[in-house]
């Protein structure tokens, strides 16, 4: 039964308050006709004893209290999904976006209609992700291995090369899979960034495998809360109904959280850290936890959310809460970026929690996890020594310290540094790691078991010289 009201009680920010006289449903979709006769959509957010709180997706500008009409639809927010979505772009409510100069697309014939909030995967149904996605980037493949079904965010700062890195991952990761789909979600991003991604996807020739959802900076704020949920609902269909491997790139989660804060303060909720709502952890989890693999199904959802850390502050609530939910993080460093290291990944604070099961004998190579641990250890030492050097001078360093310092320099130069179009397979990456580690005396290599060390350590001094001649 559809019921129409035209007596709004109050309007505040993106919210409309209505004195209801019937049994409203939690999450119900409300169709709104503004005084100019233009249709908008809203959703029931909270129902108190007499008053219903409705969020309006397109914003409340232009709404009044007596001429605006609200019709309750008796439905929750749902999205029509179809295979024809591939290669197309959608707006913040999941409707096909009309682009200038674009070919006219046929209307979509929905295969299924699904509510966007999704339901949690039964933990017992999950299958633990162990298939490595080879990105061809040494730092990621070697040290923070990405695994299919993982959620691995990129923590970045304004003006760093996160978009380039994400584009490179998409470009190089696709090669090994035919049934590979990229779902790109732009949340409050700049038009330029949206175009950058579109161009990179087109260049790499896999535009037909990309579904884009775009809410650009000038679009309504409330849609930023819907758009990742819409995109993930679509991703779930492709992954768990059609058995495809879906990579979801969400940029920028910071804009999402700010929209959440705006909504929360309009509702008059008690704020938590930095004004963000107390339930932000659970809310973010309801997005991130939709990544994964399910027993007995072929497909998977891998998420790479991009988070711009306000002021490069990793302890800010957004990256902080994200880090507690995701399976690791890739952190970009402004200092490395300034020194022209690409990708500027700060390896010490970066981590992939799912790496241990993804690497090793039969998957990458037997020495992988040990050599990775050794690289971390030596690089951490080299940074400490570098600090020491700046105080006491190079002359006062021991010869071992000097060796480790040199290791650090060449590690950044040869291992971390890579070109945008350079693709290194994992064996090349591991061999490179051994070349570097072998510049440090064998007895100072403590993280590697004796058998592996004897097998891979390069004793020959000439090989070491060859490395420096590269």
């Amino acid at each position: 039964m559809k019921i129409t009201y035209s007596n709004i009680q109050g309007i505040e920010g993106p919210l409309v308050f209505l004195r209801h006289q019937h049994n409203v449903m939690n999450g119900e979709i409300v169709h709104i006709i503004d005084p100019n006769g233009i249709a908008r959509t809203g959703r029931v957010l909270e129902i108190s004893e007499n008053v219903t709180v409705i969020e309006v997706f397109q914003g409340t500008a232009g709404l009044d209290t007596d001429r605006t009409q609200l019709t309750f639809s008796d439905e929750v927010f749902q999205i029509s999904i179809s295979r024809d979505m591939l290669g197309r772009t959608f707006d913040g409510q999941g409707r096909p976006k009309i682009l200038k100069n674009a070919d006219s697309f046929p209307e979509l014939l929905p295969e299924v209609v699904r509510p966007i909030c999704g339901t949690p995967i039964n933990p017992y149904s999950r299958s633990y992700p162990t298939d490595v996605i080879h990105t061809g980037i040494s730092v990621i493949d070697g040290l923070t291995t990405l695994v299919r079904g993982q959620k691995l965010p990129i923590f970045t700062g304004q003006g760093l090369s996160h978009n380039k890195l994400a584009a490179q991952i998409v470009k190089q990761a696709k090669v090994r899979e035919e049934n590979f789909v990229v779902v790109f979600v732009g949340i409050g991003i700049l038009q330029d960034d949206a175009m950058y991604f579109e161009q990179r996807f087109k260049e790499s020739g896999n535009w037909q495998n990309v579904i884009s959802f775009l809410n650009i900076a000038s679009d309504p704020t409330i849609e930023r809360i819907l758009i990742p949920r819409i995109a993930l609902t679509v991703a779930e269909y492709f992954a768990f109904d059609l058995d495809m491997h879906v990579l979801v790139i969400m940029t920028d989660i910071t804009n999402y959280c700010e929209a959440l804060r705006e909504l929360s303060s309009a509702k008059g909720e008690i704020p938590s850290r930095k004004g963000f709502p107390g339930y932000m952890y659970s809310d973010l989890a309801s997005l991130y936890e939709r990544a994964g693999k399910i027993k007995g199904r072929e497909g998977s959802i891998t998420q790479i959310p991009i988070i711009t850390m306000p002021n490069d502050d990793i302890t800010h609530p957004i990256p902080d809460l994200t880090g507690f939910i995701t399976e690791g993080q890739i952190v970009l460093s402004r200092e490395l970026y300034k020194r022209n290291v690409y990708p500027p990944i700060d390896i010490l604070s970066s981590l992939s929690r799912l790496m241990k099961e993804g690497v090793g004998e039969g998957k990458t190579r037997e020495d992988h996890s040990e050599i990775a641990s050794q690289l971390y250890s030596l690089y951490a030492q080299s940074l400490e020594i570098k600090e020491l050097e700046s105080i006491i001078g190079e002359e006062s360093l021991t010869s071992l310290d000097k060796r480790i310092l040199n290791f650090g320099k060449s590690f950044e130069q040869y291992f971390m540094n890579q070109k945008f179009d350079e693709e290194r397979d994992v064996i090349t990456t591991l061999d490179l790691a051994w070349d570097l580690v072998s510049t440090v005396p064998k007895r100072n290599i403590l993280r590697i078991s004796p058998e592996i060390l004897d097998k891979y350590y390069i004793e020959d001094a000439r090989i070491k010289e060859k490395l420096w001649g590269r």
Partner: protein, 593 residues
């Protein structure tokens, strides 16, 4: 009071918080069934004209005006055979059964029994008809798994004479096993009982713990030990390895029963546990570790009210096995998510927030959780001893230990394993900081260790001193450089590095290193300390430091954690002889020239 008649209707909905009007007999803690789809909820607040409930399931799609039914009973756990080797959500729905019945996603209107109704168990009676029984008396046993003999106990509050008891045979959970008569009332009992999760199960007497919980992690067992019946907090920012430590405890700790509560954490981590545990062999019993484990998984995207309940659900199961006389370890990952669930619900109730937005009753609730740990004599005959060790992970925002949950938790725990982000960044795992961690149990455990071999107490103090000395010296190195320190101090730095890199560090995924037996831990540290004292003697004879640094034994000490198996600890004697030989050789070489 007729149960069917206590019905009301939904007045308001705000996320998981539901306002209800029209209930007559509601009590705080009553379980209610909300709406036509009968979502489970719990009454948490009563005002003059309405009650407030939190709903354990998602509320989207619920209408105002739908009926609410009060069951008038509190949220309770089903306790009986079948708990082990099982996995539940926060309100004890069996997850494998949910999957079987409803598929891979958890939606609304899903129900699943906690204990399998069809499975039958072999019951062995232990007492005869006519015996007078009191609560906690063991009246029979069921072999629940290969390792665990499940004791069937008289429920709390039941006294009387045993009038009938069945013969040894196979019975299902719902069969009547025994009857007890008290006065004119005769009651029937089966293999299982119920207990409300928020009530503490009573016990006879509490005793002070004196036996360590052996974890196989050297930094814990030797430096910051925990007793069986103790309480530990493990705080650490993200990526510092809280979960790996909890998993390691679940795999190798020498408790009889493990209750693992994944509270608001990652789904993939639970999948990891579920895939690994059935294949892992417990070094103490040589049987799969899953056979002693109960898992409770309420991942971060599952409803927040059930997350709040999950910790108490875990405790209730832990107390039940403790009452049988077992040593139980309750691993809660993470208590911060639980506290945040409290905060979220409190915020929706518009309660006045205290520090950090948490409700003012945060410390009371934390206390009600940690105080359920301990070593006790349970009620009933025969007399027995059981314990609950609680290990609570804490996830302080931004790794800041002064935030309310970490700060409040510190008041209730006696051991504190502080995880250090800097150690984690250089992949030094377990990243338990040797400067910020402490354990107040060590002095009570010394007697136990002394039975095992010499010098645990002294070795602990010696390594702590070397590590502390080295941290001080590092500051001086920053100013003058290592080369300019006196040679004894350079030796301290060298030995401290050795202790960190070959002793405190431990690879959780290496088949040999992942579990270090108490004997191995003790022998290895004594070897390192012996190397230190002998080297001190060498350098005092004006023999250069690099000579002792370059001895062959150093390489062997470095490899020992990875190469010497727990069963081959005798090999340390060979190393000890080699150390003595090399040192003597070195001194002779210099003194003769």
């Amino acid at each position: 009071m007729s149960r069917q008649s206590d019905q009301g209707f939904i007045l308001s909905i705000d996320g998981p918080v539901i306002g209800i009007k029209g209930l007559k007999y509601q009590k705080i803690g009553d379980l209610v069934k909300i709406g036509h789809s009968k979502l489970t909820g719990e009454i948490i607040k009563i005002t003059d004209n309405r009650s407030i409930a939190t709903c354990y399931e998602y509320t989207e799609g619920l209408h105002v005006g739908e009926p609410v039914l009060n069951t008038t009973e509190p949220l309770s756990m089903e306790l009986g055979p079948g708990l082990l080797n099982n996995i539940y959500d926060g309100i004890q729905r069996t997850l494998p059964l949910l999957r079987e019945k409803y598929g891979d996603f958890i939606g609304i209107e899903q129900e699943a029994y906690a204990l399998d109704r069809k499975k039958s168990w072999i019951f062995e009676p232990k007492v005869k008809e006519g015996t007078k029984v009191t609560p906690g008396d063991i009246i029979g046993t069921v072999q629940e798994t290969n390792t665990i003999n499940h004791k069937i106990m008289v429920p709390m509050g039941v006294y009387g004479t045993l009038t009938t008891i069945v013969r040894p045979s196979k019975y299902s959970i719902e069969d009547t096993i025994y009857t007890i008569k008290n006065g004119k009332i005769e009651q029937k009992f089966g293999l299982f009982q119920k207990w409300p999760i928020r009530n503490i199960r009573p016990y006879r007497q509490r005793i002070y713990p004196t036996e360590p919980l052996i974890t196989g992690m050297r930094v814990i067992d030797v430096l910051f030990p925990v007793a069986k019946g103790g309480v530990v907090a493990v705080p650490g920012g993200f990526g510092t390895g809280k979960t790996v430590i909890q998993h390691n405890l679940a795999k190798w700790a020498d408790a009889d029963i493990i209750v693992y509560v994944g509270c608001g954490e990652r789904g993939n981590e639970m999948a990891d546990v579920l895939e690994q545990f059935p294949n892992l062999i417990d070094p103490h019993t040589n049987l799969p570790v899953m056979e002693r484990t109960v898992l409770i998984a309420n991942t971060s995207n599952m409803p927040v009210s059930a997350r709040e309940a999950s910790i108490f659900s875990g405790l209730t199961i832990a107390e039940y096995y403790r009452d049988m006389g077992y040593d139980v370890a309750l691993l809660a990952d993470s208590t911060t998510r639980w506290a945040e669930a409290l905060r979220e619900i409190s915020g929706r109730l518009e309660e006045m927030p205290a520090e950090g937005g948490y409700p003012a009753y945060l410390s009371t609730r934390l206390a009600s959780f940690y105080e359920r740990a301990g070593l006790v004599h349970p009620l009933g005959f025969p007399d027995r001893v059981g314990s609950i060790t609680v290990v609570g992970a804490v996830s302080p925002p931004s790794g800041d230990f002064s935030e309310p949950v970490t700060k409040t938790t510190r008041r209730f725990v006696k051991a504190f394993w502080a995880l250090d982000a800097k150690l984690a960044y250089s992949r030094h795992y377990p990243s338990i900081s040797w400067t910020d961690s402490y354990s107040l149990y060590s002095e009570h455990l010394e007697e136990w260790w002394n039975k095992l071999g010499k010098g645990w107490g002294k070795s602990r103090i010696d390594i702590s001193e070397i590590l502390a000395r080295s941290d001080e010296l590092q500051n001086i190195v920053q100013l003058v450089g290592k080369e300019n320190l006196p040679v004894e101090q350079q030796l301290i730095l060298f030995v401290a590095e050795l202790i960190k890199n070959v002793y405190l560090i431990q690879n959780a995924f290496d088949p040999i290193d992942r579990y270090s037996s108490p004997q191995k831990s003790l022998k290895l540290i004594n070897l390192i300390l012996d190397y230190y004292s002998r080297s001190l003697d060498v350098v005092s004879r004006e023999i250069p430091l690099f000579e002792v640094e370059n001895l062959g034994i150093v390489t062997e000490i470095s490899r020992a954690r990875l190469s010497i198996k727990n069963k081959d600890v005798d090999q340390f004697e060979g190393l000890q002889k080699k150390l003595e030989r090399e040192i003597t050789g070195l001194i002779e070489r210099y003194e003769s020239s």
